[in-house]
Symmetry: D2
Amino acid sequence: MEQMENFISNDRFAKHLGIEVFDAKEGRAKGHMRIEKHHLNSAGTLHGGAIFALADAVFSAASNSHGTLAMAIDVSISYFKAVKEGTIYAEAEEISVNPKLGTYLITIKDDSGNTIALFKGTVYRKSTPLEEILK
Amino acid sequence: MEQMENFISNDRFAKHLGIEVFDAKEGRAKGHMRIEKHHLNSAGTLHGGAIFALADAVFSAASNSHGTLAMAIDVSISYFKAVKEGTIYAEAEEISVNPKLGTYLITIKDDSGNTIALFKGTVYRKSTPLEEILK
Amino acid sequence: MEQMENFISNDRFAKHLGIEVFDAKEGRAKGHMRIEKHHLNSAGTLHGGAIFALADAVFSAASNSHGTLAMAIDVSISYFKAVKEGTIYAEAEEISVNPKLGTYLITIKDDSGNTIALFKGTVYRKSTPLEEILK
Amino acid sequence: MEQMENFISNDRFAKHLGIEVFDAKEGRAKGHMRIEKHHLNSAGTLHGGAIFALADAVFSAASNSHGTLAMAIDVSISYFKAVKEGTIYAEAEEISVNPKLGTYLITIKDDSGNTIALFKGTVYRKSTPLEEILK
């Protein structure tokens, strides 16, 4: 899985936001993000875009874990609870996959284990091997 | 509209990503983001999470422009085209609003005017005045 | 749960489509629909609208099972597999609920247990008791 | 456009619900549905599933209007307003299309011209010509 680690460490946007992603294999992945001041919105709570970014990074890792390039085409997210501090956690589950499309469900939780958001995303799967991307 | 400017300038997540939002009034808003290295994904193109972040910032400005706090509850985004450089632009339109709920459509375009993504978001509207949030 | 049974049997659209819903309580519900000729689309497979209708009926039963009126505000559905015959099954799970909003995940399967679609729906919860609706 | 008319008239689910679709060409289509008793939900208003069905029929016509088979993969719908009687109207606009994917926005209005729902749908485009489906 060295290739997958390279792929993940290449995600500069995730890095810029302090997102860590791991255990990406066989359509699954996990991640977390420690809430910092620069993740907050105008109301002083964790920005919906920051929650999305964590879920999206885990979605990308899970959907690319089969070794060929997957590109997000449609995503839907529902938000349940405002969070102000601590760390948030995301975990991806593969709901369906075929040679062209894959759909993933990512659950996002806070420190206390409360589900704060639910993310459903679909990718278009190209035949391009990840190693070609990583050159 | 000084209050709205304060509300927008309070969005630290948007600031951290180099997002600029303006013209927030009567359910509408605009914004743009210049693509930087830290906005790229593992495949070297603009991260879906960064596109979402711009749309989300414009969505927040538009839905809060009536002067009371609006919180995102459901968002759906479709991605059409990979972008590598330049600036991307987002514009929000209010599709429906009542005292409790509002729905907005945000169109995201690249430098050449191509639509690269479409974002549909619904907020729950609280009765809390924005000025109370900004204290 | 007699009230819930009355509420469900009042759903004329579900009846018109041969949808049966049961076990609606505490945020959960189940249902099924036997595929008939009038459920098919132009390509001769089960219509996406018919799959949605089954999921929606189960979503309605689950979200109204707390005894007060719930109205759908945002729904997202992903389709995975074409089906031609047999019976399809749907089951709703409550992901989050508070006094104003609730979000549900409905999984739809075919006869062989394959997941053919995934439905995520959010309701706005009114304070109106169901018995008032059923008068 | 005789082929498109055959394709539309083959949609038995739409027919079962009294949906009429027309003007399907170049990524666009229109339709309407007169509200009947069997379109109502448990609360006595037009069922969300019936609104979806009309939008979905128009979505199918628009996305198949290029002459090759298009299959729905992801749809999101937002509901704004309860309706009880009259006719509802839907119109599809093509937001993006490439050889593999297409995304459409369908606006649904009531008799008075109020927007009652907004539907965003993405299809996967196969290379199968429609005439092969219609054999």
